[in-house]
Amino acid sequence: MVEFAIVVVLLIAILYAIISYGLILAAQSTLTQAAADAARSGLVASSSAVTTAESQALTDVSWMDKGCNTPDISGSATGSPMTCKATEEQCPSNPSIECLSVTVSYNYSSDPLFPELPGLSIITPSTMSSTNVVQLGSVS
């Protein structure tokens, strides 16, 4: 019984780590999805590309219930560990055309999806982010 008590702590720690990492991977996958979705929605937006993209990213990450700072949407809430930021910038591959860059980042250590065990932060990422860049025009 004593041995089991010792072992069960180890098992629970492992189970805890598996769940934690599973959620981290899910979050990272969501960030990737959100950035890609947002960039594309900005590309096809009939009005403001930046705000449309940030709004789309906010929608995509909503399942995590952490909100998302959207600096270009007036009145958006602040204080979220996540940031959904879209910018128009020169395309790295061709400075003569414009690109829409969307970065969705998550300061995971400040507000994790699953409470972290003491010491687990050593092996979990403190921040996660994903960036997607689409071209807003073509030059032959």
């Binding site: 041995e3 089991f4 072992v7 098992l11 492992i14 189970l15 780590a17 598996i18 990492y21 599973g22 991977l25 990272q28 996958s29 990737t32 999805q33 950035a35 890609a36 979705d37 960039a39 594309r40 929605s41 590309l43 096809v44 937006a45 009939s46 009005s47 403001s48 590309a49 930046v50 789309q56 128009e88 020169q90 395309c91 790295p92 591959s93 061709n94 400075p95 003569s96 055309i97 414009e98 690109c99 960036t131 997607n132 860049v133 689409v134 071209q135 807003l136 025009g137 073509s138 030059v139 032959s140």
Partner: protein, 616 residues
Amino acid sequence: MIGRVWSWIRRHRDEEQGAVLIFTAIAMVAVLGAGAMGVDVGFTVYGSREAQAMADTAAADIIQYINNADQETSNPGVQSYLNTKLSGVLQDNNSNAKLTVTPMLYSGGVYTVPAGGCKLPIPTPPTYPACNAVAIQATQAVPQPFWGGFNNLAGKSGSGLPPTGSGSSGCGLTTVTGCGIGCNGMSTPCFDCPVGGCTTCPTTSCYTWLPQSTFSIGTYLASFDSQQVALLNDIFGNSLGTVGVTAVGYEGLANTDVTLNQLITASGGLLTTDNVLTASYSAAQWQAIWLAAVENQEGSLNCGAAPTPLQCNAATALGPSEMTLTSSSTTNVALCALVVVNGENCSVAGADAAANQPEITYSGLDASLNVLQMLTTEAELANGSSAVNVTSGLQISGVTGTLTTDVVGPAQIATGPVGSITSPATGCPPSSGTATCAETAQVSADLSLSILGVVGTVDIPLSAADGIATLTTMTCANTVNGAITSTKITSETTTATAAVTLAGAAVATLTLSGASASAQSYTASVVPPTASTASAGTNPRQVGTDDPTPTISGPTGLYTGLLSSLLGTWTPPLNTWTPGPLSDAIGPLLQAAGVTVGGADVADLGTDCDAIEIGS
């Protein structure tokens, strides 16, 4: 041996010490194995998402170049061109994924990779480019920490014409399928469609082939007549600064087009896709933006070639050696006052009214604007009004006068596709439907004359005729470069009237009849306009008569007779560039201001048969 083992088990079978160790050892293998598998599967899922995201991004980016790929003359050339663009996608996204692109053909609801390559056969009738869709496959390598090595995950995506035309439900975020749904049931890899075609290839972004034309109504300035250098310098030098553009520089400006996208990029953050039409800047600020855009463009030209491309002289003309504009001008100008892009101008209408500002759509970013035309209209607006003493120009004994033109709006340029309305009769913008149309400036000219022996000043506040031009037809040949076959622009002008007064009292009414709606055709050989096409009158084309005869009505007598005689001499130079008694003094300024009384110049400035619009 076996007996000794059984004996040991019988002696210790009631002991529990160490039992947990055995169960733990067994369970730990399962737990750790499951955990390891979970991590590896997690990386796999993440990698798949990364691969799909890159495939989707590349599909949206590369489809923008599919029509440009027609400029290549061989299938390997097309593939190489698209591969180059794929490299750009990876660079933009700082990705190490591997991307491959397959140009495809969409026809009759079926996507195919033609046996002879995407450029062949050219469909008959040629209603779309030979190569009009792309399939993208992305491969993303992700680590497998416990399984060992790396796993290569594939994502597949595609872009093409929407299944049933623009706006179909097959496109858009809500129905993005990636490759998964469409191709799961296929035994062959995604998009590896048989020659006979498949109907299940998915599209993550759809586009519409939407040929566009850019045309103007008003005064055509961007010709190659170097004699107009003096005019340009006069316009800019009025109050905006010091301008001394040379003839070579003038030709450079006249031959250089810049897209809105390039302007945004060159603005250093001043312009964005949201405000490019509405951002209001001084002539000096616009000069800096245009200069940066032109310099960027020159970077892609071979300016060391002989003869030097004309566009290579544009930056010099915009530079400080030939043009120094002051930033003190209080009149700022926004692009929406100069050009109508896909129906958007400063007079907001339609769906954007809620936002109360004109907004550029994605396809509008590729709208090409002539540098000289835009600069001159900016300068005209910044100047606000121009006045010229016509005493010497009138060359009528005993008559002196002053002509003032007030520029309320400059000559207009429009760019966009053929809309549902193809007649200007319903106005611009039309009261219903869509149209790519432009309306001439609301320019007024006020001529004040002092006639010897007549007490008081004769004042003729002439409202110039409005003109509307509407893009009626665009016919593009489905050949290499997507060359235009012809464009038709329908235009008309309204009647211009003036209440002539003497010493403040009405004495007569002046009427210049307008031109009824008619369609002008511009073939490939005259687009864009050149000096020879301008000289031949094939582009720009004159709408209305060159020499309208003013109708004077009102009380008969000395004044009316005098006015008839006087105005008969006065009006022709306002309508033509041909030398006349007043052309040197008044004609250029009036033309610059967009005043073509009773008529208008309609110029087809350029066409883009390869233009596409990304669907949503």
